[in-house]
C-alpha cells in the first residue's frame, strides 16, 4: 500500500501525496507543475467543468492502451496513479501544430493548445482523418473566435505519417500496481477491499471518471467523508458479449460506444452525441447509471431493454433490474456497502428508437430523452416506452404501453398514444425547458417515431 500516487507528465515521473492529491490536474499543472519545469501554462482553464476542452491533456494507463484526450480541469491527481500524461508542452512542433499555423487555426490562441492536444489524440490511431472524425473528435473543444472552420481544415490537411506517434515518444507508463491509501482516499486493487472500505466509511463517494463528481467538487465545493477509486481493480474492466453485453464498472463510455457500434446501433447513435470525447474517455457507463440523473442519456435504452445491474457488497453479489433500481430523485436500491460492479445490457432485436432533445446538437445536457421499443407482428405485440426529463427519475409509461398493445400501427394511433403519454408525465420547468415544452415533446415524440419507422 502506497501513501502517494505516481504519474508521468511528458515522460517524467512525479509523486504526489497528502492533500495535494485532491488538486485538479489542470490547477496543478498551471500553478505548481513538475519540479523540473515549474508551472506548465499551456493547459488552459476556462470553464472548470468539462465543457470547453481548453484543458485537454492526453492520458493512458498502460503501455497497451492508446493516449486519449481527457479534461484536466475535472480530473484530480488522486485519479492518476499509474497514468502517463502528455500536455501541450510535451508535443514538439509536429504536423498538427504546423497545420494549425498554416490554416490560421489560432486566432486569440487561448483554445488552441486544447485543440492541438485533442487533434494529436486523433492521430494516435490513424494517419488521416475524415471530416466526420474531426468534427466528432473535436466536439469537446470550444472556440469563440474562429468559427471552427480553419481548425477543421487544419486537421484534414495533416498527414499523420509525417509525425511521430506520442505512444512511441512516451513509451513508458509508470508502474504502480499496488493499492493507494492517502487520508480518506482509497484506491484498492480488489473488489473485496473496495466494499470493505465502503462499508467502513459511511457516506463514502465512489469516484470513477469524475465527470460528475469532479464538477461537483469544482462548482459546489463538494467534499465527501471518504473517497473510493475503483480504477485499479483489474476485474472491473470486463467488456464482452455473452448473450448480452457485460460491462464492468471501469469501462469508459468511449470503449462502450465502440463496442456497441454494430451491436446496438441506436444506442451508439446516442453515445455519438453524448458529451464529448474527453467526457466519454473519462466517464463510465456505470457512473452514468449510478449518477441517476433523470436525463442520463444511456438510461432510456437500459429501461426498455430491461438491463440488469450486478451489485456487490460485503455479503456477496445480487442482481437488480434497472427498472426497479431507481426509487426517487437520486435514490437507489443500493446498500451502503454496495457498489455496482457490472451491467448486463441486452441486445434488443425489436424496433427501438432513442431520442435526445437538447438545444445544442453536441455537448449539451438533454432537456428530454426517450426510448420507444415495439415488437410487431402486423399488430403491436408489445410496446415499451421510457422517458427522461419528465419526472425525478427516468420512467416507463405503462398506460401508453398498454394502449398501444394489440393496435395496428397508424399515425392516428401514435397521435393518440402521444396524448396519453402527455397525461402520464408531470415534468417541471428548469433552465433547459419549461414544463409545457416537455409535455409537448412527450406527445410529439410518438408521432415522430411513427414517421420514422413508417418511412
Amino acid at each position: 500500500m502506497r501513501d502517494h500516487v505516481i504519474f508521468a507528465i511528458n515522460g517524467r515521473e512525479h509523486r504526489a501525496g497528502g492533500r495535494e492529491i485532491f488538486t485538479t490536474l489542470a490547477n496543478w499543472l498551471r500553478y505548481v507543475g513538475p519540479a523540473s519545469a515549474g508551472p506548465l501554462t499551456g493547459t488552459k482553464i476556462v470553464c472548470e467543468e468539462g465543457d470547453c476542452g481548453a484543458c485537454t491533456v492526453l492520458i493512458r494507463r498502460s503501455a497497451q492502451e492508446e493516449f486519449v484526450p481527457v479534461n484536466a480541469c475535472i480530473l484530480s491527481l488522486c485519479q492518476l496513479d499509474g497514468a502517463s500524461i502528455v500536455t501541450v508542452e510535451g508535443i514538439r512542433m509536429n504536423a498538427v501544430q504546423q497545420s494549425m499555423i498554416a490554416h490560421h487555426g489560432a486566432q486569440c490562441g487561448y483554445c488552441t493548445p486544447g485543440f492541438v492536444v485533442a487533434m494529436c489524440g486523433l492521430f494516435e490511431t490513424c494517419d488521416r482523418v475524415t471530416d466526420k472524425q474531426v468534427r466528432d473528435g473535436l466536439t469537446g473543444n470550444l472556440c469563440r473566435c474562429t468559427g471552427y472552420e480553419p481548425i477543421i481544415k487544419a486537421a484534414l490537411a495533416v498527414d499523420g505519417k509525417s509525425m511521430p506517434k506520442l505512444r512511441d515518444v512516451y513509451r513508458e507508463v509508470p508502474s504502480a500496481r499496488d493499492a493507494v491509501r492517502i487520508d480518506n482516499f482509497f484506491a484498492p486493487t480488489t473488489i473485496e477491499d473496495a466494499v470493505r472500505f465502503k462499508s467502513e466509511n459511511p457516506g463514502c463517494t465512489i469516484l470513477q471518471g469524475g465527470t460528475d463528481v469532479g464538477v461537483w467538487i469544482n462548482k459546489r465545493h463538494f467534499t465527501a467523508p471518504a473517497m473510493l477509486f475503483l480504477g485499479k481493480i483489474a476485474g472491473l474492466s470486463e467488456l464482452r458479449e455473452k448473450n448480452e453485453i457485460v460491462v464492468g464498472a471501469n469501462v469508459s463510455l468511449a470503449a462502450f460506444e465502440v463496442f456497441i457500434r454494430d451491436r446496438i446501433p441506436e444506442l451508439y447513435g446516442i453515445l455519438n452525441i453524448f458529451g464529448s470525447p474527453q467526457i466519454k474517455y473519462a466517464g463510465t457507463l456505470v457512473g452514468n447509471i449510478a449518477n441517476g440523473s433523470p436525463i442520463g442519456d444511456t438510461l432510456p435504452y437500459l429501461f426498455v431493454a430491461d438491463a440488469k445491474l450486478e451489485l456487490t457488497g460485503t455479503g456477496g453479489t445480487r442482481t437488480v433490474a434497472v427498472n426497479s433500481f431507481y426509487r426517487g430523485y437520486k435514490q437507489f436500491d443500493l446498500r451502503a456497502d454496495e457498489i455496482i460492479t457490472r451491467v448486463f445490457v441486452p441486445i434488443v432485436k425489436d424496433t427501438v428508437k432513442l431520442y435526445k432533445v437538447s438545444r445544442r446538437k453536441d455537448l449539451d445536457i438533454s432537456a428530454f430523452t426517450a426510448a420507444i421499443r415495439l415488437r410487431m407482428n402486423g399488430r403491436i405485440e408489445e410496446a415499451r416506452i421510457a422517458y427522461g426529463g419528465v419526472a425525478p427519475t427516468v420512467i416507463r409509461l405503462p398506460k401508453t404501453e398498454s394502449f398501444l398493445k394489440g393496435k395496428s400501427p397508424s399515425l392516428d394511433v401514435f397521435e393518440r398514444a402521444g396524448e396519453l403519454a402527455r397525461s402520464e408525465v408531470k415534468p417541471i420547468s428548469d433552465v433547459r425547458g419549461s414544463a409545457d415544452y416537455r409535455l409537448q415533446l412527450a406527445e410529439n415524440i410518438l408521432s415522430k417515431f411513427w414517421h420514422e419507422v413508417s418511412a
Binding site: 476556462v46 490560421h104 486569440c108 466536439t139 438545444r359 445544442r360
Partner: protein, 721 residues
C-alpha cells in the same frame, strides 16, 4: 497604388500559440506572488451592514482580507470615453481613461448596486487558498428595494447616449402609409464569454506599477490607474502581449483590475487575479437586454415612407453605457421620415458594455426582421424590397459614401446562394419531414478611426521593427501590420518585426469598433512611408527607387546603425464622406416538424469592407463574427432571475455557444472595394460586421420555413412548438 486584396499570410505569432508558449496575462509568475479572489455581493440593492472576516483570516494561507472597511480611498476615475464617431472621441488615447464604473470606485463605500459586485477581496499564498478564503467571508446586508424589471420601469427611460434623431415627420408619414409593420422585437442579455478569463498580475515598486493585463485598451488602463492611484502616468507600465479573446469585454477597466492593483499595494507583494467563469458573468460587462419597436410605413411599391425605431435597453447608475441600437437605423435605408432613439432604463443589474457590433447587432435584428415582415405584407421579394430602398447617400446627413458596394454584395450573395429559386410561400419548401426556409438580411457597420502612433526603425542589416502599443486579440493585427509595413517599405515580410501590447510603445486607441486596422494601419503606413523617404533623403535619391536592398546599402554606405521615423496619424477634423462597411447574408435552415430544432444548413455572406489587407485573417474575422451571429440567433442568452436579481446560467454548460457541429457550410464572398477616401490605407474594418444581420437572416428563414415569426431571440425549440 496597393492591390485591393492582400495576399494571405500566415500569422506571425502562430508558433507560440500552438505550442502553449504564448503567455497570457495570468501566466506571468513573479517572485513572492500572492493570489486574490473576489467576494461578490449577493443582493441587488442595499448596503453592507457587516463583513465578518475572522474565519477567512484563519484559513490556511490567507494574507489579507480587503474591503471598504480597510481599503484606502482611491481617486476619481475617468469613465469610458465616447465611442469613435461621437463628439469628444478624437481626444488622443493617452488622455482617456476607461473605468467601466465611474460611479462605483471599488471599496469606496458600503453601497451595493447589483448582485455580483466585487465587495471584498481575499489575498492568499495560492489560488486555491484565496478561493477558499473568499468563501469564508460572511457578509450581512440591509436590503433596499431593487429595480430589476425593465418592463416595470419602462416609463423611466433616459436617452443617455443623446441618440434622438428625427427627420421629416415620421408619425404622420407612418399614419398615412398604405402598408405598415409595427412590431416589438427583443434581444436578451448576452455575455461575451471570451475563452480567456479576465486576469491580471500587478506588481508595485515604490510608486511604480507594472501590470500584466488582458486588455483591449492598455493606454486607457494606464490613464485610469494613474488617476485612481494618484501617480504619474509614466509610472504605470501596462503589458498585454496576448489576449485570449475579448469581443468588447476587455475594452474597459473593470473592478477586478483596480482591486488586484490595490491588493498588491496593500500586501506589498505582486498579486495575480484570475477570475472564475461564474465571476465573469457579473463584473465584466454584457450585452444588455433590449426591447425595440420598429414601425415601417411604405407605399405599395415598397418605397419606405416612414421608419420609427425606439425602445429601451438595460443599464445601471454606476456605468455610462447605453446600447445604441438605433445607430444602424440612420445608415441603412433611404427614408425621408424617421425617428430613432435608444433610451436606457437604469436597473440594479451589473454594468453592460459593448459586445461585438454593439448597437448594430441587436438593432439590425429588429430592423431586418421588420423589413422581412414588410416584404411579406407587400408580397414582395425581401431582396427586392432592400434594393428599392437602397441608400445612395448616408440617410443621416446626406453625405456621400466614401465607397459602398452593398448592391454588389446582394447580387453576388444571391447568385451564389440561388436566391432566385426561392418560393416565397412559407412552409412551401420541404425535404422529408424537414421544413426548409430561406432568409436574408443586410449587414452594416461604421468604419471608425482614432488617433494612433507608430515608430518604424530600420537597421543596417535591412530588417525593420515596427513599434506601436496596440493589442492582439486574435484579429491578426501583428500579421497584417507586418505585411502592411513590408509592402510600404518594399521589403519581404520576413524582415519585419512587430512589437505591440506595451504602454512604453507609441500610443494607440482601443482595439474595438473594428478600427484597429484603420487607425493603427494608418500610423504604421505613415511611419513606414516616412522612413522610406528619410532613407532616400540620406542618400539623396528618389524614394521611388528604394527597394528591398536599398536599406542595407544606404545605411552601410553612410555608416548608420539604424534610422527611424515616427508618425502620429489623426483622422481629419471634418469628414466629408460617410464611411461604412456593408454586407448581406443568405441563409438556409432546416427544421424538423415534430421537434423543431433549427439547423443552419448553409449560408452565403458577402461583405464589402474596403481594402482587405490579408485575405486569411479577414476571412477568419468574418467567419468568427458569423458564428457568433448563429449563437445569438439560436443559443446565446443569459437568464436573469427577477426575484433574486441575479443572472442564473453563469457557466458554459448552460450559457451555450456554438460548437463545431453548429457550423456547416458557410461561404464568404469578399467583394473587392477600393476606397481612397476612408483613410490613407483604404480599409474599413471587418471585425464586427460579420455578426450583424445573421440573427435576422436566420429568423427570416425560420419564418419562411414554418410560418412562425420569432421576434425575441434566441430562437429556441420551445418558441417554435
Amino acid at each position: 497604388m496597393m492591390p485591393p486584396l492582400g495576399p494571405p499570410l500566415d500569422r506571425v505569432d502562430g508558433r507560440k500559440k500552438v505550442t502553449g508558449g504564448a503567455k497570457f496575462a495570468a501566466e506571468h509568475n513573479l517572485e513572492n506572488m500572492a493570489y486574490a479572489a473576489m467576494v461578490m455581493s449577493t443582493i441587488p440593492s442595499g448596503t453592507i451592514r457587516s463583513i465578518d472576516t475572522a474565519a477567512a483570516k484563519r484559513s490556511t494561507g490567507v494574507i489579507a482580507v480587503i474591503s471598504h472597511l480597510n481599503a484606502p480611498r482611491l481617486g476619481p476615475a475617468p469613465g469610458q470615453p465616447p465611442a469613435a464617431g461621437q463628439p469628444g472621441a478624437a481626444a488622443p488615447p493617452q488622455q482617456q481613461g476607461n473605468f467601466a464604473e465611474p460611479q462605483l470606485i471599488p471599496f469606496s463605500d458600503n453601497k451595493v448596486h447589483y448582485v455580483g459586485q466585487r465587495i471584498a477581496v481575499v489575498v492568499a499564498d495560492t489560488i486555491e487558498h484565496a478561493a477558499r478564503g473568499a468563501e469564508l467571508v460572511k457578509v450581512t446586508y440591509d436590503e433596499t428595494p431593487a429595480r430589476l424589471d425593465m418592463q416595470q420601469f419602462r416609463e423611466q427611460g433616459v436617452d443617455r447616449a443623446k441618440s434622438l434623431f428625427t427627420k421629416g415627420d415620421a408619425d404622420a408619414a407612418f399614419a398615412s402609409a398604405s402598408v405598415k409593420i409595427d412590431q416589438i422585437y427583443r434581444t436578451p442579455h448576452e455575455h461575451h464569454n471570451p475563452m480567456e478569463a479576465h486576469s491580471i498580475v500587478a506588481a508595485w515598486d515604490g510608486d511604480h506599477l507594472t501590470l500584466y493585463d488582458s486588455s483591449q485598451n492598455i493606454f486607457a488602463v494606464q490613464q485610469t490607474m494613474s488617476r485612481l492611484f494618484g501617480i504619474p502616468k509614466e509610472n504605470v507600465h501596462i503589458l498585454s502581449q496576448f489576449v485570449g479573446g475579448a469581443f468588447g469585454s476587455k475594452g474597459s477597466t473593470w473592478p477586478h483590475v483596480v482591486i488586484g492593483v490595490l491588493a498588491a499595494r496593500m500586501v506589498n507583494r505582486p498579486v495575480k487575479v484570475f477570475l472564475t467563469r461564474k465571476q465573469l458573468f457579473f463584473g465584466n460587462g454584457h450585452r444588455p437586454e433590449t426591447q425595440q419597436r420598429v414601425a415601417l410605413g411604405a407605399n405599395p411599391e415598397g418605397k419606405l415612407l416612414a421608419m420609427i425605431h425606439e425602445g429601451m435597453s438595460q443599464s445601471n447608475d454606476v456605468c455610462t453605457y447605453a446600447e445604441r441600437f438605433v445607430r444602424p437605423t440612420k445608415a441603412i435605408y433611404a427614408v425621408d421620415n424617421m425617428r430613432a432613439i435608444n433610451p436606457i432604463v437604469s436597473l440594479n443589474l451589473p454594468s453592460p458594455t459593448y459586445m461585438r457590433a454593439p448597437g448594430e447587432s441587436p438593432g439590425m435584428f429588429a430592423i431586418e426582421s421588420a423589413m422581412d415582415e414588410l416584404a411579406y405584407a407587400l408580397k414582395m421579394d425581401p431582396l427586392q424590397l432592400r434594393l428599392v430602398n437602397h441608400a445612395d447617400v448616408n440617410p443621416e446627413d446626406g453625405k456621400p459614401w466614401s465607397s459602398k458596394s452593398l448592391k454588389e454584395c446582394y447580387a453576388q450573395g444571391a447568385d451564389k446562394f440561388g436566391w432566385s429559386k426561392r418560393n416565397p410561400e412559407p412552409r412551401s419548401m420541404k425535404s422529408g419531414r424537414d421544413l426548409i426556409g430561406w432568409g436574408m438580411a443586410s449587414a452594416t457597420y461604421p468604419a471608425h478611426r482614432s488617433p494612433a502612433s507608430a515608430r518604424a526603425v530600420v537597421k543596417s542589416d535591412g530588417t525593420v521593427t515596427i513599434y506601436t502599443g496596440t493589442h492582439e486579440m486574435g484579429m491578426g493585427t501583428a500579421t497584417v501590420m507586418s505585411q502592411l509595413a513590408a509592402e510600404t517599405l518594399g521589403i519581404p515580410v520576413e524582415r519585419v518585426r512587430f512589437e505591440y501590447g506595451d504602454t512604453t510603445l507609441p500610443p494607440t486607441p482601443i482595439s474595438a469598433g473594428s478600427m484597429t486596422a484603420a487607425s493603427v494601419g494608418s500610423a504604421v503606413f505613415g511611419a513606414c512611408d516616412a522612413l522610406k523617404k528619410r532613407v532616400a533623403e540620406i542618400d539623396g535619391v528618389d524614394p521611388a527607387t528604394i527597394n528591398a536592398e536599398s536599406y542595407h546599402t544606404i545605411l552601410s554606405k553612410h555608416y548608420l546603425d539604424d534610422v527611424e521615423a515616427r508618425f502620429d496619424a489623426k483622422p481629419p477634423q471634418q469628414e466629408p464622406h460617410a464611411t461604412q462597411a456593408f454586407g448581406a447574408h443568405f441563409v438556409e435552415v432546416a427544421i424538423d416538424q415534430d421537434i423543431p430544432v433549427v439547423r443552419v444548413q448553409r449560408m452565403v455572406s458577402a461583405f464589402a469592407g474596403g481594402r482587405i489587407l490579408n485575405a486569411k485573417t479577414a476571412r477568419s474575422q468574418y467567419f468568427g463574427g458569423i458564428i457568433q451571429g448563429i449563437g445569438m440567433a439560436l443559443l446565446e442568452e443569459t437568464h436573469f432571475d427577477k426575484r433574486l436579481g441575479t443572472f442564473t446560467n453563469v457557466n458554459f454548460a448552460e450559457y451555450m455557444v456554438p460548437t463545431n457541429a453548429d457550423v456547416r457550410s458557410i461561404d464568404i464572398i469578399m467583394v473587392p472595394e477600393e476606397d481612397h477616401d476612408v483613410n490613407p490605407i483604404g480599409v474599413k474594418g471587418i471585425g464586427e460586421i460579420g455578426i450583424v444581420g445573421v440573427a435576422p437572416a436566420i429568423a427570416n428563414a425560420v419564418f419562411h420555413a414554418t410560418g412562425k415569426r420569432v421576434r425575441d431571440l434566441p430562437i429556441t425549440i420551445e418558441k417554435l412548438m
